[in-house]
């Protein structure tokens, strides 16, 4: 028996610090729940949240600047561009950009959790999730002002999961990250203050289907591992590219094991991003979840899932690109078509945005399929285009769901589209802000949505998938109808009785304002951000 030499692993603390800070913040949040009296928990949680996000952003910025210098000087100094934590994570341009995006969006979206004005002094979450809806206990909990302040910690956990997901360098890390980002969201989905039955139903569906999809992912991962003998992207890639024929598994099962594995893995990833035909959960979960949570998962999960998928498919499965490209192309078309078509008939604003989120996944997939890596200096490759789209989409989504929180019939959010009639005239500020959001979703110029669409379609086109770009453009029109329908309701219909725009706290206003302004700026002067994204290069392996 050979004595196993245990070498202390090298941990690149500084490079990892953004993730660690977020995780630390989350743990601290858990500790606060245990040690602090109830009334102190909320302020502490919020401060912790902000500190974690700001700290992580600061460290990330420092790392990024250093890393850029390092690549310029072609020297390897810490923090570095490369594999971290014994090859489990990658630190590269795309992952840093994704971390930036996730941290910013996480900050904005989780800040909205803090609002206490829209619900007359209470948060958007159930006072006591364990109580039965409609029971006396629930009444009691409401009356004495109990609340779940651990939502912030849950949010930070999911954020950490997403950050790891986009940077994962092997299948197991990815799987764990997948669960770390999903499990808190399952819980968050379940604890809406109002319409709790719906919330619970959404959580149940999300959970069962999510676990189901995880199983697919895991089984796929196992098969790929079997084929290649490696969990890491580079190993898988070399097995595929090198035509690994010597492995036992390959001898036994041939390429079938790889194809099946890729299919199952793809199911898991496509499920998370809500691509058709794995979108079933999206409308239900988006509708039922507490609206701040919907906003967060719509942005965060989508960024994580798409970036993660690109990493897997580009780096690990790049060798069989010709095999999976057509498949993803079909999925992209289905996603655009079904997402848009099904959204048309919706009369619930949240559900409508949910379907719209599905269709956006389709638009993004066009660039993913294009796999346009090699572009001239200063231009966007496929990853940059997708990132830009996601950034634009993220801002609009956060603002959109936050505004949905404000429009109320009585004390509950008014989801019915008919209730939105005349909102734009009743409250022009909210009207204009939501209009900007809708126009960005619709991809109308002067908004980030347009530049994003532009970027992904150009990427798909130059990548050889011009027909996919054309389909995307065609369905952009149908999608535009969707948002215009809402605009018409908001601005031209006679105002609905009994619906008002509730007074919101800065916790809501700040993210809304920042997001809409960002949407406009990215639409008018996308130059700097694009410039930055164009320096990201591609995934390292």
């Amino acid at each position: 028996m050979i004595a196993l030499e245990t070498v202390a692993p090298v941990i690149e603390w500084q490079s990892l610090s953004p993730v660690l800070i977020v995780l630390g913040g989350a743990c601290l949040g858990v500790i606060w729940e245990g040690v602090l009296p109830r009334r102190l928990r909320n302020p502490f949680q919020i401060v912790t949240l902000l500190a974690a996000i700001i700290g992580a952003l600061t460290m990330l910025t420092l790392n990024f600047l250093h890393a850029s210098l390092a690549t310029d000087a072609a020297t390897s100094v810490d923090p570095k561009v490369g594999l971290l934590a014994v090859g489990t994570l990658c630190s590269d341009g795309p992952s840093m950009a994704a971390w930036f995006a996730l941290l910013v969006f996480g900050g904005l979206a989780l800040l909205i959790f803090g609002d206490r004005q829209l619900n007359q002094g209470a948060s958007a979450f159930a006072s006591a999730a364990a109580t039965t809806p409609g029971s006396d206990e629930e009444q009691l909990a409401d009356t004495i002002g109990r609340e779940h302040t651990e939502v912030y910690a849950l949010g930070l956990f999911s954020l950490a999961g997403m950050m790891v997901f986009v940077a994962a360098n092997d299948l197991i890390t990815m799987f764990i990250a997948l669960e770390v980002m999903s499990l808190p969201l399952y819980l968050l989905a379940a604890i809406a203050r109002r319409k709790r039955l719906l919330s619970q139903e959404a959580a149940l569906k999300y959970f069962l289907l999510g676990a189901f999809a995880s199983a697919f992912f895991l089984f796929g991962a196992a098969l790929i591992y079997g084929y290649s003998g490696s969990f890491q992207w580079a190993g898988i890639d070399s097995a595929i590219s090198g035509g690994s024929t010597s492995g036992v598994a390959v001898v036994t099962f041939g390429d079938g094991i790889l194809i099946t594995g890729v299919a199952l893995l793809a199911v898991g990833l496509l499920f998370k991003m809500g691509a058709v035909p794995f979108q079933s959960w999206v409308p239900d979960v988006y509708t039922g979840s507490p609206t701040p949570v919907t906003g967060w998962m719509a942005v965060g999960v989508k960024i994580a899932a798409i970036l993660g998928m690109m990493r897997v498919f580009y780096v690990a499965l790049g060798g069989i690109r010709w095999t999976w490209q057509p498949v993803i192309a079909v999925v992209a078309v289905l996603t655009m078509v079904v997402g848009v078509i099904m959204a048309l008939a919706q009369t619930n604003i949240k559900r409508l945005l949910a379907y719209s989120a599905v269709s956006h996944a389709g638009f993004i997939l066009t660039a993913v399929v294009g796999t346009q890596f090699y572009v001239g200096a200063g231009q966007l490759n496929a990853i940059g285009s997708v990132m830009f789209y996601l950034i634009g989409y993220g801002f609009a989504t956060i603002a959109g769901f936050a505004i949905i929180m404000m429009v109320r019939r009585g004390s509950a959010e008014a989801w019915d589209l008919d209730d939105w009639a005349g909102i734009g005239v009743k409250n022009p500020v909210v009207g204009v802000l939501f209009a900007i959001v809708l126009l960005s979703f619709a991809g109308i110029p002067l908004t980030a949505g347009f530049i994003g669409k532009w970027a992904v379609f150009t990427s798909a086109w130059t990548g050889g998938y011009w027909w996919l770009a054309v389909v995307g453009i065609a369905f952009s029109l149908v999608a535009a109808y969707l948002y215009l329908k809402v605009l018409i309701k908001m601005f031209f219909a006679p105002p609905a009785e009994g619906v008002r725009v509730a007074k919101a706290s800065p916790f809501v206003w700040i993210p809304v304002i920042i997001s809409t302004i960002a949407t406009l700026i990215l639409g008018l002067l996308p130059g700097p951000v694009m410039q930055w994204l164009s320096t990201l290069e591609i995934f390292i392996r």
Partner: protein
């Protein structure tokens, strides 16, 4: 660094619109008018500069380097005249719709002014853009303020009309997006780096591949939708019927011109080979529009709808002029764009004054207005005469040029189009006869009790004066338009026709 006149020209109204977001209340319309007049002043200031050196105004600043897109503005004769048209019509519309409010909603005149200014700024940028991406962005963005203008201030079925307007506009825009995305991709192949500068791309994409065809056709489809040609014109009558006359003026007078403008600026300039090849098809389409629009106008029972149909017919003329590939026809179209702007504005606004009094746009609700409001009827007749291109009006000069240009290559087309001029007489005079002449009906006597006010007179006769002055001294505009038309043809390498007649367009 010279003074960025064109940038200021484009941004000034947009800044005005932004200022109008502030709650300025009653001052809103004054601020709006002020900005519109200031823009007019800037536009006027651009004229001597342009006359001095046509390239002095050109500006090219990197904008989105990642795409190779520039903030590139420049004007040629056509652009300059369109800029002036826009700058003139905007304050006029604000002035004419001074006290406008949305029907049954809280839309205020301040919102109207803001939207009109936004529309003006974006349209100006479209007319000045030398970069296809910038052109496209502004082209699409113009839809939004127009959409709100229709939906906010229109009639009963305004929201459907607004939606239809926007959907057709977006359809065109998105079809064009295919081309614009393609341009980026192909200019990379042709030139080495992706570029959207019209002046840089030149004719480098034309000929060669099937792709040039696809790109040209997508652009063309968008412009056909924009300058509504049969059978994709249906949004225009609906929108015009529902919108307020002021909005319709901007929509038909300025926005739709982007269609014909784009055909010249992009289809013709970038894809001369393909454009020449498709010319017969376009000419047939133009003729169909001319005749169909005129017939539908004759049959129309709604005054505003009628004017919209006449515009469909007029746009047919403009398209015809473009695809004659003669400097006369092309110059005629460029001039036509301007004249049609003024002439349609006059028609819409005067009809607006009429409809405001009577409260109905149905032709059947009128009769004998002339005896109640002789000046109004005189103004309507004057506007109508400019619509039917009476000699002495500027519309005549342009229509004549278009027909003469088309005659020299396609006499048959000119004959068919000339029938359109007869039909024009029918639709205008029939409308006038039905509404203005005969004994006044009791309803008309009851509702139309006042003639034009001083403000309305200023608007109506001011526009008529412009049309007549340009008709008597067309060289005011032609002196800049004609060289541009000739230059365009030279650039794309088409010689003007020489006798004998009916010579084919050189491919």
């Amino acid at each position: 660094m010279t003074f960025p006149l064109l940038t200021c020209l484009g941004l000034l109204p947009i800044i005005g619109a932004a200022i109008l977001i502030l709650p300025v209340r009653a001052a809103g319309k004054w601020i709006g008018l002020g900005f519109a007049l200031a823009t007019l002043g800037l536009a006027a200031a651009a004229v001597p500069v342009y006359l001095g050196d046509p390239t002095a105004l050109t500006q090219t600043v990197p904008w989105i380097p990642a795409f190779g897109a520039y903030w590139a503005l420049s004007v040629d004769g056509m652009g300059l005249t369109m800029v002036l048209l826009t700058a003139l019509l905007t304050p006029l519309v604000l002035f004419a719709e001074w006290n406008i409010t949305g029907k049954g909603t809280k839309w205020t005149s301040q919102a109207f002014a803001a939207l009109v200014l936004l529309l003006e700024g974006l349209s100006l940028l479209v007319f000045m853009a030398d970069d296809i991406l910038l052109f496209y962005i502004c082209f699409e963005a113009t839809l939004i303020p127009m959409y709100f203008l229709i939906g906010g201030f229109g009639g009963e079925r305004r929201s459907q009309a607004a939606l239809k307007f926007l959907l057709f506009g977006l359809a065109g825009g998105l079809i064009m997006l295919v081309s614009v995305v393609g341009i980026g991709s192909f200019s990379q192949q042709a030139i080495g780096a992706p570029t959207y500068l019209i002046s840089q791309i030149g004719v480098s994409l034309s000929g060669g591949s099937t792709w040039a065809w696809v790109l040209m056709l997508c652009f063309l489809a968008a412009f056909i939708l924009k300058a509504p040609m049969v059978p994709v014109h249906t949004w225009l009558p609906t929108a015009a019927e529902e919108a307020t006359p002021g909005s319709s003026v901007l929509m038909v007078g300025i926005l739709d011109k982007i269609g014909t403008f784009g055909m010249i600026r992009i289809c013709l300039t970038l894809f001369p080979v393909e454009s020449a090849a498709i010319a017969p098809v376009m000419i047939v389409l133009a003729l169909v529009s001319i005749i169909y629009g005129a017939l539908a106008a004759i049959g129309s029972k709604n005054l505003l709808r009628l004017v919209a149909y006449t515009s469909v017919s007029h746009f047919g003329f403009m398209v015809l002029g473009i695809y004659t590939f003669t400097s006369v026809g092309l110059g005629g179209t460029m001039f036509y764009q301007v004249n049609h702007g003024f002439s349609t504005a006059a028609l819409f606004l005067v009809l607006g004054f009429l409809i405001k009094r009577r409260g109905s746009a149905n032709v059947a609700d009128y009769g004998g207005v002339q005896s109640q409001a002789p000046i109004l009827s005189g103004a309507l007749l004057l506007a109508g005469l400019s619509g039917l291109a009476l000699p002495g009006m500027s519309t005549f000069v342009s229509e004549f040029e278009v027909l003469a240009g088309s005659w020299s290559r396609y006499p048959w087309a000119a004959i068919v189009a000339a029938l359109g001029t007869v039909l024009a007489a029918v639709y205008i005079l029939l409308m006038y006869q039905r509404t203005m002449t005969g004994p006044a009906t009791p309803e008309v006597e009851e509702t139309i009790t006042t003639d034009l006010t001083l403000k309305e007179k200023l608007v109506a006769f001011g526009l008529a004066a412009v049309v007549i002055i340009l008709g008597l001294i067309p060289n005011l505009a032609l002196s800049v338009i004609t060289p541009t038309a000739q230059e365009t043809l030279t650039q794309i390498g088409v010689a003007d026709h020489q006798a004998p007649l009916g010579e084919e367009v050189p491919a």
